[in-house]
């Protein structure tokens, strides 16, 4: 079972406890358009790097809230999300740490997971997981496993290259081939 909605996530998106999925979606849509590149509303307010950091924070909060609201007792909505049970495992410290502080916390693991870079890039562009899943037609569980470098949940390496390329292209990264190569190299160092 995922946790109850995090109060600080709710506050960040200007929501009250008891907010519905509809409230969440509207609040995030507003936040996303506000902090998008070229937005008039924030003109003169922030530098681009700061804008991306704020957008990433909001998007990460949105995803956590969406996950906890989705699992809650929502009236009449079958729990039809394609995420299998194992995607609901508590997330590792590595991931949530990287969300609250922009600098990755886990420096003690020498080869950095290239999936974390993908995630950071995705969030800073305000692309929520569900949107990426729709764009790439890859199941969210797999996208999450890619970001977390969770070998237990990943398919065989032969399939991964295509996934990484699709992911990278969907979030507008040019170097998708190189990223896929790096990702597979990294998986090898992990003995996958």
């Amino acid at each position: 079972m995922p946790d109850a909605p995090d109060p600080s996530d709710l506050k960040l998106l200007g929501l009250r406890p008891g907010a519905t999925r509809g409230d969440l979606r509207r609040a995030y849509q507003r936040a996303r358009s506000t902090w998008a590149a070229g937005s008039l509303a924030t003109y003169g307010l922030v530098e681009d790097s700061e804008r991306e950091e704020i957008l990433a924070r909001l998007t990460a909060a949105y995803e956590r809230l969406a996950r906890s609201l989705e699992a809650g007792p929502a009236p009449g909505e079958p729990n039809s999300q394609e995420a299998p049970q194992d995607a609901r495992q508590p997330r590792g410290d590595q991931v949530s740490g990287a969300e609250s502080a922009p600098s990755p916390a886990a420096v003690d693991r020498p080869p950095a997971n290239p999936g974390a870079t993908l995630r950071r890039q995705r969030l800073s562009k305000g692309i929520a997981m569900e949107l990426l899943a729709r764009e790439t037609r890859i199941r969210p569980a797999i996208l999450e496993a890619l970001e977390e470098g969770d070998t237990a949940r990943l398919p065989a390496p032969v399939y991964i290259r295509g996934f990484i390329i699709a992911y990278a292209q969907a979030i507008g990264l040019d170097e998708s081939e190189a990223l896929a190569r790096r990702y597979l190299e990294w998986l090898e160092t992990r003995g996958a």
Partner: protein, 309 residues
């Protein structure tokens, strides 16, 4: 509707927004009328000490008494400078026109004026602050119960409004962090060398926390009750209607202040016409889109006061 007891001190609304010519004075004059029509007594105070025009927008002749008569101590109390208007429940404190030096109110004068605004005998005191981010303007804005930032849906104007919000945010911190050592620390953090990157709110809180671990809590307390309303004027295309919500959201997410969307006001050629005819828009053209929007703004501002009173 609840009409407030005259004996309690008035609620102060202040209209600012950085850029000149965005419609602050037209909105202030018409908002004052719409608010008075709702059974709330209003004093409109023309604080644009460099270019006063509220009396003209209300269709009045040159008033005999002006705010400067109080500031320069020719008149003992501010309430005595109120000029009656033909609108029931609405009084005007006229501005000084382009008196040289009038815009540079000294500190003691400013504090005396602020104190006296709180003693005016109406439910609402509406300040038209004029353009700019001088301390004169900012101190009245952050000292008000409710700040209203007016902007237009164009880059220069939004940039000015965002800079105004930033300046007001820091000014509020300086003015409400009363204890001496802490206040000077905040001042030092805010004082920026020319052309350096302006400090972000987050950096400020982090830096202050390094000096005093209680600091973040005190900063948060200083910002409590600071929730400006964002009004976007002269909206022409439907796409710009989302701007008040977006700008308010940005201020909440960036400064951590309780900013909210006061709404948008359409561009309306009847505004220019009524200004030329020297008649308030809401009186000359009550059915105009501008008039309807200003009426809604009055409702929203009154409701905001009812909820936190």
């Amino acid at each position: 509707m609840t009409t407030k007891n005259q004996a309690s001190s008035p609620r102060i609304w202040a209209i600012g927004g950085g850029k000149g010519g965005v419609g602050k004075s037209v909105i202030a004059a018409n908002l004052a009328i719409e608010t008075a029509r709702r059974g709330t007594t209003v004093t409109l105070v023309d604080m644009d000490l460099g270019g006063a025009n509220a009396h003209t927008l209300l269709g009045l002749g040159a008033p005999t008494l002006k705010i400067t008569d109080f500031v320069e101590r020719r008149i003992a109390t501010l309430a005595e400078t109120i000029t009656p208007t033909p609108v029931g429940g609405l009084g005007l404190i006229a501005g000084a026109g382009a008196t040289p030096g009038a815009a540079n109110t000294r500190h003691a004068q400013k504090e005396r004026l602020l104190r006296n605004l709180r003693t005016l005998p109406s439910n609402v005191v509406l300040l038209d602050l004029g353009a700019g981010t001088a301390f004169n303007v900012l101190d009245f804005f952050v000292g008000a119960d409710l700040g209203i930032v007016v902007t237009m849906p164009e880059h220069t104007s939004v940039e000015n409004a965002n800079n105004f919000l930033r300046a007001a945010f820091f000014r509020r911190l300086v003015r409400s962090t009363a204890t001496r050592p802490f206040r000077s620390v905040i001042r030092e953090l805010i004082a920026q060398p020319q052309n350096a990157q302006p400090l972000t709110p987050r950096q400020l809180v982090d830096a202050a926390a390094g000096i005093d671990e209680e600091a973040p809590k005190r900063l948060r307390r200083a910002l409590e009750g600071f929730g400006p309303a964002i009004v976007v004027n002269q909206v022409r295309v439907p796409g710009d209607r989302a701007l008040p919500e977006q700008m308010a959201g940005a201020a909440r997410e960036y400064f951590g202040i309780a900013a909210w969307a006061g709404g948008f006001i359409p561009a309306d050629r009847l505004v220019g016409r009524s200004v030329r005819e020297r008649r308030p828009v809401v009186e000359a053209f009550p059915g105009a889109p501008f008039s309807a929007a200003v009426g809604q703004l009055a409702d929203a501002l009154l409701a905001s006061g009812a909820s936190d009173a």
